[in-house]
């Protein structure tokens, strides 16, 4: 597998140009252009802030009763989650959309899921300055734990990439996955501590919810962002280490399945 990935680095230019093409084409013809990269999660943040901060305010001690704190906490989770969920949804489509390319030109097909994940990572990265700005302007000051950010991004990238290989390859054969996935992602969103903190009595107090959230790798990935930004500490490093291991495992098997099914893509897309 390492040899194959090394071979892939030969196609660096191809992957780069596919990504830049995707980015260029994505917002072409829109008024706001690349601003949509963070307008989307921003709007989502506003909606949740209004619902859970104002209409039915939850009294979590983490937010010291301030809606603004809650909003910033929300955005910290929504931004990486959007990267993950958009990557998943697009992965389930990408081989089919680019079917023409797969059928007519010889090229490394893994470039397509890589393109999806990296493109969404760029959107995520464009939102990061906004997140940092929020902390500086509205919320408490940032600690040096922000420097932990690249590690969190790396873990999420490995995890998302592995999952993306898996989803994109299997959707070619089982088109149902696309529909299953869009429902699953909604469920998954709520099963990840994004709009609520993990350390709340409602979660910790009920054993089965706690275990469910524990088993969800995205919990620990999103928490890594929340700790490094909002709390400014890293108490869950053991769980995070397990998550890295799970991510690498998923990456390995995701790529294996993708590689194994590679030859069937030409005929099935």
């Amino acid at each position: 597998m390492l040899r194959k990935l090394k071979e892939l680095s030969k196609y660096r230019q191809l992957i780069l140009i596919l990504i830049s093409r995707e980015l260029k084409a994505r917002y072409r013809g829109t008024v706001f252009g690349f601003l949509w990269s963070f307008l989307n999660p921003l709007l989502l943040m506003i909606v949740y802030s209004v619902v859970f901060g104002i209409i039915m305010p939850a009294r979590w001690p983490q937010f010291e009763g301030k809606t603004l704190y809650y909003s910033v906490f929300l955005f910290t989770g929504i931004l990486p989650w959007t990267w993950f969920s958009s990557s998943m949804l697009e992965s389930s489509n990408v081989l089919i959309i680019y079917g023409n390319l797969i059928k007519k030109i010889k090229f490394p097909i893994e470039a397509l899921p890589i393109m999806v994940v990296v493109t969404n990572m760029v959107h995520f990265a464009l939102g990061l300055p906004l997140l940092i700005l929020f902390y500086i302007v509205f919320a408490k000051s940032l600690s040096s734990w922000v420097l932990f950010l690249p590690v969190a991004i790396f873990i999420q990238f490995i995890f998302t990439m592995g999952f993306s290989f898996f989803i994109s390859a299997l959707t070619v054969h089982f088109r149902d996955i696309k529909d299953i996935l869009s429902n699953l992602l909604t469920l998954w969103f709520f099963a990840t501590p994004i709009i609520y903190p993990f350390d709340s009595p409602h979660v910790l107090g009920r054993g089965w919810i706690k275990i469910l959230l524990w088993l969800n790798p995205m919990t620990h990935i999103i928490e890594a962002y929340q700790y490094s930004f909002y709390y400014g500490s890293l108490p869950h490093w053991k769980k995070l280490s397990v998550t890295i291991f799970v991510g690498l495992l998923l990456f390995y098997f995701g790529y294996k399945i993708f590689d194994r099914l590679r030859d069937t893509f030409v005929e099935e897309v």
Binding site: Q13, I17, R21, K24, K104, F174, T264
Partner: protein, 416 residues
């Protein structure tokens, strides 16, 4: 060193039935049989036992009906799909013109698409920059190079795609029927470019239905039929055999149709024409003729009651409906006296002298005043093909003579 070696290539396509597929999503998840379920129950054999070698610098054309496996073979050569069995060896950079502009993104400009498509086809960014001017120039799209590709016409799309693919500078060029969509100005330009490749010693695999171009361009032709090599060899020999086969097939289909219908036939049937055959000089049924080839028309005549006034006639029309030639026994001053029973008539034509095309035949037996006994209108067909592309209806035999001051070489001599 052969740049292309195919050894016993076979290719199966899998067919999945719907019910089977519906079950898999459940069973695959429950029984972890994802891989075994991806194996299908039905198989379609697209290619079987294909073996050939191509020498460097040779142009090999692949012909055959739709569904004979041409495109599958080309995809295997291009490395897009893998053969189910057998071995393939290719040496050198391959560029496949399978679908032009397959990687274009409609929202972005022609300029950007040249870079993207070039990189997808395996060029480096630097190389594209070097060749950019050449690509744009060849495509004749200077004015439109900065507008999004979605505004292009299909011809412009094709021109850009061809220009990029041809500038990849491959050692082996694979061409699949892509020239069929081009306009009358661009296609000759493409063909000229292909010749240029040929002259510079590149290996070309050409898939086309355009048999005239195939015959001109190739050093060898491979005829695929139902996924197998039916014949391979000198272009003219293979193309002729293939056309003969196609003609035969058309003939069979036509015969089947004829049995069901009495269309294009009228008359009182006192004298009947039946079992009409178009034969070559050795008496074998034939459909495709060379212009200077003998052609015989044979048919049976059935006359139940003795008749005294009868005329046999024939007429040859081209597909535009123009009469090319018509005559009958009365016009040729035959004196009819009597006919009865089952008899046979043969019209012998020593040479057709017709230009290339499909011809329709009328046969008739009637009275001198035109009263029809049996008239067969447009019911028989034959084809004339040759390398010559002269025009008109009939090929009038002629010779060219030039005085010494005119430097012109007769056909068949080597040109430099």
């Amino acid at each position: 060193m052969h740049p292309i070696i195919l050894n016993n290539i076979g290719k199966f396509y899998k067919k999945y039935s719907h019910r089977h597929k519906f079950l898999t999503i459940k069973s695959a998840l429950v029984n972890k049989t994802i891989f075994s379920d991806l194996k299908s129950d039905e198989k379609f054999e697209a290619l079987r036992e294909i073996s050939f070698k191509v020498e460097k610098g040779k142009t090999v054309s692949i012909i055959g009906e739709n569904g004979s496996g041409k495109s599958t073979l080309l995809k295997i050569l291009a490395g897009i799909t893998k053969p189910t069995s057998g071995e393939i060896i290719t040496r050198g950079r391959i560029s496949a013109l399978i679908e032009l502009g397959a990687g274009f993104h409609p929202e972005i400009s022609g300029r950007e698409n040249i870079f993207i498509n070039g990189i997808i086809l395996g060029l480096s960014k630097k190389k594209i920059q070097e060749k950019f001017e050449k690509i744009v120039q060849f495509s004749e799209l200077e004015e439109f190079i900065n507008t999004p590709v979605k505004t292009y016409s299909s011809g412009m799309y094709m021109r850009l795609g061809f220009s990029i693919a041809i500038n990849v500078d491959p050692d082996i060029l694979l061409i699949d029927e892509v020239l069929a969509v081009g306009d009358a100005f661009f296609v000759p330009k493409c063909i000229e470019k292909i010749y240029e490749f040929k002259r510079s010693g590149k290996t070309i695999i050409f898939v086309s239905h355009d048999l005239a171009t195939v015959e001109k361009i190739s050093d060898e032709v491979i005829w695929l039929r139902n996924g197998q090599i039916e014949m391979r060899g000198y272009p003219q020999k293979v193309v002729d055999a293939y056309m003969q086969y196609i003609g035969q097939k058309e003939e069979n289909q036509k015969e089947q149709k004829q049995e069901e219908t009495t269309e294009n036939r009228w008359g009182s049937k006192e004298i009947e024409i039946s079992e009409v055959n178009i034969l070559d000089k050795s008496g074998k049924e034939k459909y495709i003729f060379q212009p200077d080839e003998p052609l015989n028309i044979e048919f049976k005549v059935i006359c139940k009651k003795k008749e005294k006034d009868f005329v046999f006639g024939l007429a040859i029309f081209n597909t535009e409906g123009s009469l090319c030639y018509g005559s009958n026994t009365h016009l040729e001053s035959f004196k009819a006296s009597s006919i009865e029973g089952n008899e046979q008539v043969r019209v012998k034509i020593p040479a057709l002298h017709l230009v290339n095309g499909t011809y329709l035949l009328d046969l008739a037996v009637h009275k001198k005043d035109g009263f029809p006994f049996d008239y067969h209108h447009f019911r028989y067909k034959f084809k004339v093909t040759s390398n010559q592309k002269d025009l008109g209806i009939t090929r009038i035999p002629h010779q060219w003579e030039f005085s010494g001051g005119i430097k012109i070489k007769p056909p068949g001599s080597l040109s430099k």
